[in-house]
Point group: C2
Chain length 556, copies 2
């Protein structure tokens, strides 16, 4: 397991970014160490990035929200001469498997969205200070910021060379943010996206590609001034910050199966069955009911710890377990405790920034689950606690199996599920709806009726009647039904399932977010399979070589 | 040119469908002649379809709207025993090129949408009478209908075997209509879409997959009764119908280039340059200003004839000219005549069903252009008539070049563009917005301001100022600029351009329609490239053979 990708990092260990805070303005400086790519085989020239660079960025964005509540604006800039960022490293892409490319793009897309949401949800406003060329993923990073400023020096440009030079798309949200976030006119977007050298100076402003240009001599002053002005207009969040230690995990092997054991989550891989089992456990303590008490618990607070652990488990599965086709999710513990923690958090989050961050982290992790291209089944048995935030796991699943009646020994009683107020708004999916709203798209009045039953719990019969679970076998059928369902699922083509789930999971409205993950990413994934990009003479493969790529000219 | 696909047909020549009208109820009976597929190599067993079957369906749907205004409900049913429709023929798919598969799916998707829109726009309500198994594309056809009835006979079922059996998606709108049109609960949709044998009887009703089941003995009576009831509740459209003769076209070769010459459209292919040129001409007559006069003109009316010709030209390009990467669109004639015809039509369409059908046909053809995966440039020169409905061609283009000033000889004066009321609502894109609204997504007030300037025409300088065209070279630069732009465009990877255009063309809201063409189709296109479906041991390739397909189990 030596070449496993791990996601824990810390500013003290960053190789590619420098994070510094000066009062309410932070600077996030990209200075990629080209000699330290994630794996061998390529240099990270010109501030190009690979997954290891993006893991640090994701860490910085997350830490700023928790550890630096005083920060109100973040200047994203470059410490490498004449180059803001050249985007994803092409040699890395050219030498990666299809599955890695797809998951790399998904992670970088999530990171850009998290950065964008920090503006909206935490009042941490990101400003791209492009003090050099921002090309491809470099300009996409800028597009995720709230404002973009470009140095006017005759050479600094923004550009999308992907399509004309590499035969792929600006797939880290680029095309979508161009026309849907910045609402650049589509014909200008078209011209821009096929112009490898990009656009500089005043024209970049005229085309709405950047918000302003400043000469080199004044650039630093001007962008700092702008960052300070934004910070001055942003409400305070009272410190101190809450430190995020690495997630606590031990790796072992049980009955030949690799197990990652976290305090509140256990991830077990069954390579033979091509499944993973995630068990998530209820808190055992009483919740903090004041902001101070919650602050005191910090990263140990169940709602933060448990969902950070789940996040790590999901990323492990995405990157390190490509053959796992199905994740079976179970829960264990006292549902009343989950509900108590949820309600305490819900009360605090209206006024307390930290409680609010804990809640938004939970929302992000659940979205990460929705967006994970593995089949998800929830199994709801006696002794489980699919209540409130943990019931969202069952709602995120492609289907759920709930045992009807008691088990033979009967000790644990009947399985029951229930709601908390977190099920009715605070944890939206990427489509902007709650998982209950998405589930009952045809019956919004049913969701309203369920919202009035937050004090109840529901056994299998009621849950089935209310449409909250998919199947409810009794204890005689349970084992066979679940086993057969798992066997059938893992026998189906992984690609077809990925496509099917991407279509069925996100009914209802589309948002910038869903457009990025469905429309843009789906086309990019297609292109990542096409010989014109990845074939022996394809543009990604031939990049940097003296010969030109060769294309099959047939359009579809 | 012997194996060119042609799209003209007529009920008298249908091989696979029978169309009959009885008062206000029509019957469209699918009885596929299995011995007459579009090309050799497969039989069309079990009412499975290929493009030739779908061309007849598209023709029937179109003809019903124009030739049978008295029809208010259409029963879609089968004349083949125990089988409603088995969907797209798998051997046909398995032996088709990627490009053909993609274009076949696009055409069938358009046909389903046209059928759906006939309900909404023409008051012709389609009812699926599934008197046998409706599997895959068969159930997708039913889903496009307003209501679905299934025979309850112990064997008739609805099913989506694509994912579990064929490793592809129900890509003709199936997954999208399941959760977004019928709003089937996503977990039930998941279970249904992986259950090859499908669902029958009462359970199909419980899961919202069909609107009702009737026993075999009563099925015909019940569905006919339902069709009559719907017809009785639908307002009359006063006949007589308007016949649609085949589009008039002569095929020739000029300077070694194939030319399709229609009365109002000329399509010229330049295989060397990998471009096509479409010239669309203004009417030369005055418009019909009464419903009777328009009826008298019938299919010869400019607005109907010219757009039917354009439709044929687009389909020719899609299916018969795969290597053409760029379509250059020009217009010729008197813009004032275009405007006069547009306004006359706009006036009549409020009260006259035929005028309304002419207008909806125009809207469909323009959508077909938007959805064509070829780059589109509009060139606007002196003597052109990009006004009103023809200005939509320039708005549909990825970019437009407008010549500023006069040409050397100066005879034609300056190029000018202008609006008609058709630019401000009646011709929506798939995203539900007008092309002007999509173009100026950031500035809705600008569109309102433009709407007040419908009596003006704009030369290049004004047009550029108003953001209506992309580039405005003068006559000194014109030829070089356009030539270089064309050369650059056709040098870029076709796949990357397809993905780029699919992302840039449809900014703004997503609809059922855009979800089908972007989310669902993009994933299907990806899957159509994956070895698990189309590789040597892939499921599509292995279908019908004794061995099982072999899958690469890595998820993405």
């Amino acid at each position: 397991m030596d070449d496993r990708i791990e996601f824990a990092t810390h500013p003290d260990r960053y190789k590619h970014w420098q994070l510094s805070c000066d009062g309410d303005v932070a600077r996030l400086v990209m200075k990629v160490d080209e000699q330290h790519p994630m794996r061998g085989g390529y240099d990270l020239k010109l501030n190009s990035y690979d997954l290891s660079v993006d893991i640090e960025l994701a860490d910085a964005v997350q830490r700023l929200r928790f550890e630096h509540p005083e920060v109100k604006s973040v200047l994203v800039t470059s410490g490498t001469d004449n180059c803001f960022c050249a985007g994803a490293n092409i040699y890395m892409l050219g030498s990666s498997s299809h599955g890695f490319k797809v998951n790399f793009c998904k992670f970088t897309n999530e990171t850009r969205l998290y950065l964008e949401q920090a503006c909206e949800q935490s009042g941490q406003h990101y400003i791209a200070a492009c003090n050099g060329v921002a090309s491809g993923g470099g300009y996409e990073l800028a597009l995720a910021c709230e404002e973009i400023y470009l140095q006017d020096d005759g050479s600094s440009a923004v550009s999308f060379p992907e399509t004309p030079l590499l035969a792929v798309l600006p797939g880290t949200g680029g095309l979508t943010r161009l026309v849907d976030k910045r609402k650049v006119r589509r014909d200008l977007a078209d011209a821009f996206s096929t112009l490898a050298e990009g656009i500089r100076g005043k024209r970049a402003v005229d085309w709405d590609l950047v918000d302003g240009v400043f000469p080199r001599s004044k650039f630093d002053d001007k962008v700092t001034e702008r960052a300070k002005a934004i910070a001055a207009n942003t409400p305070d969040r009272k410190g101190p910050g809450v430190e995020l230690p690495p997630v606590d995990v031990t790796i072992e092997e049980v009955d030949g199966k690799p197990v990652r054991r976290y305090p509140h989550v256990t991830l077990t891989i069954d390579h033979g069955e091509r499944t993973a089992h995630i068990e998530m456990r209820a808190p055992t303590d009483d919740p903090a009911t004041t902001a101070d008490a919650l602050r005191e618990q910090g990263a140990r607070a169940w709602a933060l710890a448990a969902f950070r652990e789940l996040d790590d488990a999901i990323l492990q599965l995405r990157f390190n377990e490509p053959e796992v086709g199905l994740i079976v999710i179970s829960t264990k513990g006292d549902g009343a405790k989950v509900k108590a923690h949820d309600e305490a958090l819900a009360k605090l989050m209206a006024d307390d920034w930290f409680a609010n961050e804990v809640h938004w982290n939970m929302a992000r992790v659940l979205k990460r689950l929705d967006l994970t291209a593995r089949s998800l089944f929830a199994t709801i048995e006696p002794g489980s606690c699919f209540v409130g935030s943990l019931f969202e796991l069952a709602l995120a699943a492609d289907r759920s199996y709930m045992l009807e009646g008691e088990l033979e020994d009967g000790d644990a009683g009947e399985a029951a599920i229930g709601f908390s107020s977190l099920n009715f708004g605070p944890l939206p999916m990427s489509n902007g709806l709650t998982r209950l709203q998405t589930r009952f798209l045809a019956r919004p009045e049913h969701v309203d009726a369920l919202a009035k039953r937050q004090d109840e719990t529901f056994t299998a019969e009621d849950a089935a009647e209310l449409g909250l679970v998919t199947f409810t076998p009794d204890d005689i059928d349970w084992e066979d039904d679940v086993r057969i369902a798992i066997e059938e699922r893992v026998s189906i083509s992984p690609d077809a399932l990925t496509g099917m789930e991407a279509n069925l999971r996100f009914a209802g409205p589309e948002t910038l977010e869903t457009k990025i993950f469905a429309r843009l990413s789906a086309w990019q994934n297609w292109i990542f399979q096409r010989p014109n990009a990845v074939g022996e003479r394809g543009a990604l493969t031939m990049y940097g070589r003296p010969e030109r790529p060769e294309f099959d000219w047939r359009r579809t």
